[in-house]
C-alpha cells in the first residue's frame, strides 16, 4: 500500500479508504508543517494549521483535478490557510489595540536552539527557496520528488536548491562573524 502513487492513493481515499489518506499524510504532513512554520515561526501553531489543512483537503479531495498532483495541491491549501491565519492574527491584534507590521514574525519564539535559529534563517529566504529546501529535506532528499512538488525541471530545481543553500550558508557565516 505504501508504494502506491499519489494518484492511486487519492483514488483510494475517494473510494472510502481512510488508511490511504494516512499514507498521504505520512508523505506530506512534514512539508505542510514546514510551510506553515514559515508563517507562524512556532511549531505548535504550525502543527495545528497542518492538521486543519489536511482536514480541509480531505473534504475537498474531489476538487483535485489531477490526483497525481496531490503534493502541490495541498501545499497550495496550506498557503491559503496560512494567509487566513495571518488575517485572523491581525484582527485579533486590532481588537487588542496592538498592531505589528508582520504578525507572523517574532511570534512564539522560543527558537533559541541551533535548529530553531536555522529554521528562522530559512524563513527569511524567498518562498521558492524555502519550499525547495523543505521539499528536498522532507522528501528523503529525493530531487525527483521535490521537483515534482515544485513543478520544476530537475535542473531548475537543483539551481533553486543551490541558490537557497548558498544564501543560507552565507547568512550563517555572517552570523558567526558577528558573534566573533
Amino acid at each position: 500500500m505504501a508504494r502506491l502513487s499519489e494518484e492511486e492513493l487519492v483514488r483510494a481515499v475517494l473510494a472510502g479508504d481512510k488508511a490511504a489518506y494516512g499514507i498521504l499524510y505520512d508523505r506530506f504532513a512534514p512539508i505542510v508543517r514546514a510551510v506553515c512554520h514559515d508563517w507562524t515561526r512556532n511549531l505548535a501553531d504550525a502543527q495545528d494549521l497542518a492538521q486543519d489543512v489536511f482536514l480541509r483537503a480531505y473534504q475537498r479531495l474531489g476538487e483535485l483535478r489531477k490526483p497525481e498532483s496531490f503534493g502541490p495541491w495541498i501545499i497550495g491549501i496550506a498557503r491559503r490557510r496560512c494567509l487566513e491565519w495571518r488575517r485572523q492574527k491581525i484582527r485579533q491584534q486590532r481588537r487588542r489595540g496592538v498592531l505589528q507590521a508582520d504578525p507572523g514574525v517574532g511570534e512564539g519564539v522560543s527558537e533559541h536552539s541551533e535548529n530553531g535559529q536555522l529554521l528562522t534563517l530559512i524563513a527569511t529566504l524567498g518562498e521558492d527557496e524555502r519550499l525547495a529546501l523543505h521539499a528536498f529535506y522532507l522528501q528523503d532528499k529525493s530531487a525527483e520528488q521535490a521537483r515534482r512538488i515544485m513543478g520544476l525541471s530537475r535542473s531548475g530545481f537543483y539551481k533553486l536548491l543551490d541558490r537557497a543553500r548558498t544564501k543560507l550558508r552565507r547568512q550563517l557565516e555572517q552570523d558567526q562573524e558577528n558573534i566573533r
Binding site: 514546514a34 482536514l55 474531489g62 550558508r169
Partner: protein
C-alpha cells in the same frame, strides 16, 4: 561546510516529524466517514443556488426570488384533471389531484418595495427578475432566468442521465456534471414535495379569501399567516407580516396562482407563481438545453 550545513538542515527539519504518529492518529480519527467528492457536491451546491443564490445583488431580492422558485417547485408536481365543475373549490380534492400531474410549466416573479407610508401609495416595484420553469417527471426540469428581459441564466437537471448544470449565456459559459442518486435526492427534499406542500397548506389553519378573477379565470383562495407551515426555512427570522396564498381555479380545480409576501425591516417583499400549464406535452428537448459549441466550461 556543505556537509555540515546538510547535517544541520537534517537535524532542523526533524522537528517537522515531531509527534507525527500521534498527530496522524488524531487526524485519521477525526476524518468524516468518507472524503467528499466535491466535483459532485459542488455541483449540487451550484444547482441549489437555483433556489438560494441567483445572480442578484439585493439580499431581499434573493429572498423573494428564492421564495418564488421554491413555491414553483413545490407546486410543480401536482395535480391533473380534477373532474369537479361547480361554483366552488373542493379543497380536499385538490390535494388528491396533485398526484396526477406529470408535467407543468409556470412563470415566477418577485418584487420588493419600501413599506408604504401613510398617504404614499407606491405600487410594488418589480425586482426585474423572472423565471420560466418547466418540469417533467420523466425528463427533469429547466429554469430560465430573465433579468430585465434578458436571458441571464439557465439551470437544468436531467433525470435520465442524472446530469445537472448551469449556463450563463452572457458569458458564454456552462457547468455540467453527473449527479449521484443521493445528490438527486438532495435536490428534491421532502420540504419541496408538492403533495406534502399542499397537504400542509390545506391542513393548516387557513383563512378563506373568497373568489376573484385571475387572468379571466374564476378562482378561490386561501391564506396562511403562520410562518414555517408551508416551508420550514422561509428565510431570516426577522420576517413579519407573512402571508402565503393559494388560488385554485373553480373550473379546473387546479392552482392558478400562488403568492407569498412578507416584510423584513423596512422592505416589503413578495413572490408569485402564475401562468401555469398543467400536463403540457414536454419532451426531452424541452428540458435539456442546447449548449452552443462556442461556450466554454466554467470550473
Amino acid at each position: 561546510m556543505s556537509a555540515h550545513l546538510d547535517e544541520s538542515l537534517d537535524r532542523a527539519y526533524e522537528r517537522f516529524r515531531q509527534d507525527h504518529k500521534a498527530l496522524r492518529e488524531a487526524l485519521v480519527a477525526s476524518l468524516p466517514a468518507s472524503a467528499t467528492n466535491e466535483k459532485r457536491i459542488g455541483a449540487v451546491h451550484r444547482l441549489r443556488r437555483i433556489t438560494g443564490g441567483l445572480t442578484m445583488n439585493s439580499k431581499m431580492t434573493k429572498i423573494a426570488v428564492a421564495a418564488a422558485i421554491l413555491i414553483a417547485v413545490l407546486i410543480g408536481f401536482h395535480y391533473l384533471g380534477g373532474s369537479s365543475v361547480g361554483t366552488t373549490v373542493a379543497w380536499g380534492q385538490v390535494a388528491k389531484n396533485m398526484d396526477a400531474v406529470n408535467t407543468f410549466t409556470c412563470r415566477m416573479a418577485s418584487w420588493q418595495r419600501p413599506i408604504q407610508t401613510p398617504g404614499g401609495a407606491e405600487p410594488p416595484q418589480e425586482a426585474g427578475v423572472t423565471m420560466q420553469f418547466s418540469y417533467s417527471d420523466e425528463y427533469g426540469f429547466k429554469m430560465e432566468q430573465y433579468t430585465d428581459g434578458t436571458l441571464t441564466l439557465i439551470e437544468f437537471m436531467l433525470r435520465k442521465t442524472n446530469e445537472g448544470g448551469r449556463i450563463w449565456p452572457q458569458e458564454k459559459k456552462y457547468f455540467r456534471t453527473t449527479l449521484s442518486e443521493q445528490e438527486r435526492a438532495m435536490m428534491s427534499p421532502q420540504d419541496m414535495d408538492p403533495r406534502e406542500w399542499v397537504r400542509r397548506f390545506l391542513s393548516a389553519s387557513f383563512t378563506p379569501l373568497g373568489q376573484k378573477t385571475i387572468d379571466g379565470t374564476m378562482a378561490e383562495g386561501v391564506e396562511i399567516n403562520e410562518l414555517g407551515v408551508i416551508r420550514k426555512s422561509p428565510g431570516p427570522s426577522t420576517i413579519e407580516n407573512y402571508a402565503a396564498r393559494l388560488w385554485v381555479s373553480i373550473d379546473t380545480q387546479l392552482p392558478v396562482q400562488i403568492e407569498e409576501e412578507y416584510t423584513v425591516g423596512s422592505v416589503h417583499s413578495g413572490a408569485g407563481v402564475d401562468e401555469f400549464q398543467w400536463n403540457p406535452p414536454l419532451s426531452a428537448t424541452d428540458i435539456e438545453p442546447v449548449i452552443p459549441p462556442d461556450y466554454t466550461p466554467r470550473t
